[in-house]
Symmetry: D2
Subunit: 403 residues, 4 copies
């Protein structure tokens, strides 16, 4: 294992850190104020556009994308500490650097599997940060932790495909700048287990696409992120040229998308945990009970120590996973991806929870980012595969050594 | 220990259960729809008024209040299973039966310590469910887990008191029907440790009372509950007759209020946990992954079993605490009150969290009550004294046996 | 629920408590010294015989047995606090009061299902405390958490049965006073699932009974308890009159034995936890680090508080279970028996573990009883059904409400 | 961070792994048999001497010692995977490779701080594996987690020092080959906080050295390891030339000894956890309940997955700590050493505990190494500083960033 960085990697981390300190943290108050002024918008407030301009000027743009010629060409290991930094301010920094989900995963799919025409139409403006996109996989009527439950149909009709079904948690789709969805749908119900579904690009303005509502997360609307849309696809007809990758290859594409997507979440979760630990230290040093700083209490010190101990371990496992993905590929790193997908949200959640407790009432309300971060981390124990599915996957690979 | 119920107690539990099944659960959908129609109201929607009428007609009214002649005269043990039932639908049932915090605690204070005039003016309409009230104790600028940090000043000036300071988490105060606050303030900074504060009744329309904003809980505004107000008291002048109890007796009054208040929360938390367990069972029996009901998975069965095991224990400790309060008084039950204040939120939180996991994405959004219940339970690990303060209190009483 | 005691129950608890304080605790040092002097004995040392005499004189004898005319006729609820007291000194008190496993369960089987002749030969001397017995159910070659795996054969041959197989964890069988084993064996391999096994009384001196060795528990030989024997039954021929209960009714008998046996373990585990908490308080008050008593450290106070909180809950659930067994029978209390079988060892183990940590090195060695208690509690998460089997049982009963 | 190995490091790991598979694992049964035959010996059985010869022949000898000219000169990072391998068979492999505590720490002290004469007399035979040694720091009468409590006196008298006091947990001292103890004693009670103690070499045969008894660990005597001796130093007079390092520098020497000593324990604990996970997988694949292998149960798969996830993290943090010690020194790695000292025993303990549960009754007795490993791991949450002291140390360093 070698987690040492290249000079370029090191330089970019420093540049990202400067950007966070000089631009992003100071913009957080502005962000909150602008959001408060425009409570009905489903988009990030103006300050984010400013940050995007600045990030791009500093060369901090599309760093997530390894694929030539589109992306920055960083390895996962090089990108990890940068993504971690963006996680410290997860509602501003990832979008500022055009590294926000779900667009990142969509750009990756388009870069890897998109036809030239598809790349021209969707990938270019996404890479420019001009439009947004969404990913429509999970469905309200079935347990999506088993991908085979996905029931939205896609059927060939002449030169077109017709898509019919109901999706939800299409994050970002409430954003008026969201122009396209990548839809996972059942194309061959009787095919072999992992060759039943296809992915297709569906423009948001295609007839029959109906955005029904947005689901909230622990009371948070996630408006600045474009919400989480429930979308009805009512006999939506799109050109056969919109198919992404080959027919019935949806499962393979989903796997290709989810590996990097999962580790990106994990990298950012480490950053969220670090931010929460910073806040916990600062707050407990600043407040007093019974005549001494809260930070002097043994119980609080256990929270702080345990937070540091857990974060260190989670970060190292994330780095190892990134290094494996770089050296033996996503498939070779499958166990570690599953492992870190369990560890990172759990770690972040635990640290944030203790920070909330240390903050007291300010921890659960809008006066700290903590409750929002908590909701985010908690949700990632369900999104992209629930913990129990990932644990089962780890166990099976472990047991396979002995069979 | 004898947890057996009187005939009257048993009959009231049955009546409350009937009310829940016949009226409250069926009203939950109406409640949600009415809330959605009037998103800017800081009050419960019309269906709650209907439920109040019905509950009163059924004799399910003010059951929380033991004090003659005002209340129903139930013991804590008798009230426990009724409060638990209301906790199964915590945004409708407690208010429907006029048993919702913080009014309950305020009514109890007024019944116990209020002058006749105070009772006429405030207690009567509260018992009628006509007005609401709030309780202003905690402050944004200090760590309120140490009550001695409370800094809002109350100073005598002729026949008046003048109140100056900033309070927050005055729950219910955003409700336009909220007419009075019981304010805890520093009256004698140099007095003995537990005789420095006084409580005073401050009408919400007194000059100088300024409601600044409402704090949210994990993204939830708690509008139907009247929110959680931050209130500035800017040289608010009220008649000396508004003093509640004696001068500098605020601490003793707070203790008198908090004992029953805490156990009421605990009783309802048991109900929340039971509701979450019901939902977890129903959902996991109804949904399938990998060819069988989720409820058949060993990991899910561990969640269900552990939930049942924890709830049983938490309920029994709550009942024991209630029984002790009835038989040896709140002071004699101090250790158990502290213990249950730790156990009940933790139990509810754990069960709700597992129910969320079993629900998947539906668990974190508005399609189930679970995320909201979670936020509620989590907050009760901070409100009315954080866990660590209660644990320290238990430890000290335990150690005192050996000193 | 009514956990109130009868006058007789209350009086016996007081008497048992007196016995513990006046006789048992003071005898612990003698016990240790006598054990050290006779390291090769597989029996309790002389001081236990003295305690037996004293206990009997005080009317504290066979209190575990509800069945007339043999036993004391206490309800489970009445016996619970007495068994808890004996658990505070588990290597002396249960045997002193003739209430030690596995003899208790064997006496119960004999009292309920034994023929008159069997009772004369085995039950009488057991009730007198003259002989010991063992119970041979679990086997080294199969996973016994599934009772259907039990493979030792019992076959009819004329007026005899012939028993062949290998058993282990026949606790007490190393004791030279152990005269009989109740053996569970496969009598009808093709019978219906719960009618395949029979129980039979096998004298320890029957030809073909070979005690192979004793298994230790975390390094402890449990010599004073008679160890845990591995026994080979090599074509052991016994009279058909030795069959206990009916043919193929072994499973039903095992259930009848295990219900009370499990709750007795739980009652004693509560006592062990209480003893550990006592020791933790005493030790942390007596020792100093960094200038103050260890008991003043916040982290240690959390251990103490959490110990108290957990013990209270576990005791209440044990009492409820006992009350249910008394009022609706063992079958009606099946879920609670399974629940408490999970809770009590886990609680005791947690408390003992924290006491060990508070003790430091003295906690893991012979200078405190803690490590031995820990091994005992840990083992009870496996013995009489592992936790995961009991949790599954709780879950299934919970889910059954909704099917 | 760069965890890549040198060619030499890689080659040695392979060689150690070969040795484990070819020699050590096959010797475990012999070890057990020889121990059973000579139950009264306080030394490892003959097979270990054979393994020592073999290890030395293979160049696997004294690999722990970085200090020229005595040791192998490996970095901590290079030694880590080798020590981990030895931890897989902790009662044979470390001694076989002359890498067993407490001798390792003593050799390190002698190599760093020993006078030439001291090295000739004690270090050479220790490096040859001819004699053993012990370390006498902790005391029965005080809480040694605060080093300032150490009360054994050392006083200058002419050309001699006189040592008086009582030590315990002098591991290895029961071994007849143990020839010397390094004793930590109070030399200047009024000196500055960290300059009050000295270390001195005391031959075990010096008049006044009295080995009183051995303490057991959870019932295990640890005979093959030389037990854990309680030693009375009754006015033991030794030459002033026996002082190790300077006067009153005991605390600094202890720190120098403990850093490497702690991480060596951690490395071996990772190996113990791996061994337990191997055993858990093998056993649960081999045994059946209710018609399928135990390994197919979801709950068991959670144990396996969680074990793998925890081990990976603990190993990475151990490697990072080793790398830091190599690159910035023990002082620069102080926080990580404290962190890993908490993580590694906790991880090993958790994994071993789940393996015990998976094994059932065989897990707690001598038929598997698990209970013994558990006792070992549990004890390391106390030895070399209890968890809570290390956590406090981590917290203070974390908070120091903000003060």
């Amino acid at each position: 294992m070698d987690f040492a960085f290249s000079d370029r990697g090191r330089e970019l981390v420093q540049r990202a850190d400067d950007f966070m300190r000089e631009c992003v943290y100071p913009a957080e108050a502005t962000f909150a104020a602008q959001v408060a002024e425009r409570p009905d918008e489903w988009d990030s407030p103006p300050v984010v556009a400013d940050l995007k301009k600045e990030a791009r000027a500093r060369g901090l743009w599309n760093l997530f994308l390894p694929h030539a010629p589109w992306g920055a060409g960083l390895t996962n290991l090089e990108y990890a500490p940068i993504a971690e930094l963006t996680g410290r301010s997860p509602y501003l920094a990832p979008e500022a650097m055009n590294c926000a989900a779900p667009d990142t995963g969509n750009m990756e799919l388009l870069a890897m599997f998109g036809a030239a025409e598809q790349q021209d139409r969707w990938l270019r403006p996404l890479l420019e940060g001009e439009i947004r996109s969404c990913f429509s996989m999970t469905e309200p009527d079935v347990a999506s932790s088993d991908a085979n439950n996905i029931a939205t149909r896609i059927e060939r009709d002449g030169d077109d495909y017709v898509v019919t079904g109901r999706k939800w948690w299409s994050s970002g789709a409430m954003n008026p700048r969201c122009r396209v969805s990548i839809v996972m749908a059942l194309s061959d119900p009787d095919g072999p287990r992992h060759r039943r579904h296809s992915m297709i690009l569906v423009p948001m303005d295609a007839p029959g696409v109906r955005v029904v509502r947005s689901t909230s997360v622990f009371g948070y609307s996630d408006r600045t992120h474009g919400g989480h849309a429930e979308i009805v696809f009512d006999q939506v007809r799109v050109s056969a040229a919109n198919l992404l990758g080959g027919e019935h290859e949806g499962f393979a594409l989903a796997q290709a998308r989810l590996g990097p997507g999962r580790i990106h979440h994990c990298m950012r979760l480490i950053g969220m945990a670090e931010r929460a630990l910073d806040l916990m230290c600062q707050r407990t040093l600043a407040r007093q009970t019974f005549g001494r700083a809260i930070a002097e209490q043994g119980v609080v010190q256990e929270w702080i120590a345990e937070s540091r101990i857990r974060i260190e371990q989670a970060r190292l496992l994330t780095l190892k996973t990134a290094w494996l993905m770089d050296t033996v590929g996503n498939k070779g790193a499958a166990m570690e991806i599953a492992a870190i997908k369990v560890v990172a949200p759990e770690t972040a959640r635990w640290v944030i929870d203790r920070a909330i407790q240390a903050y007291g009432a300010a921890g659960v309300c809008q006066d700290s980012p903590l409750a929002n971060l908590y909701a985010h981390a908690r949700t990632l124990q369900i999104a992209d595969g629930p913990d129990e599915v990932h644990r089962r996957s780890v166990a099976r690979q472990e047991l396979a050594r002995w069979r």
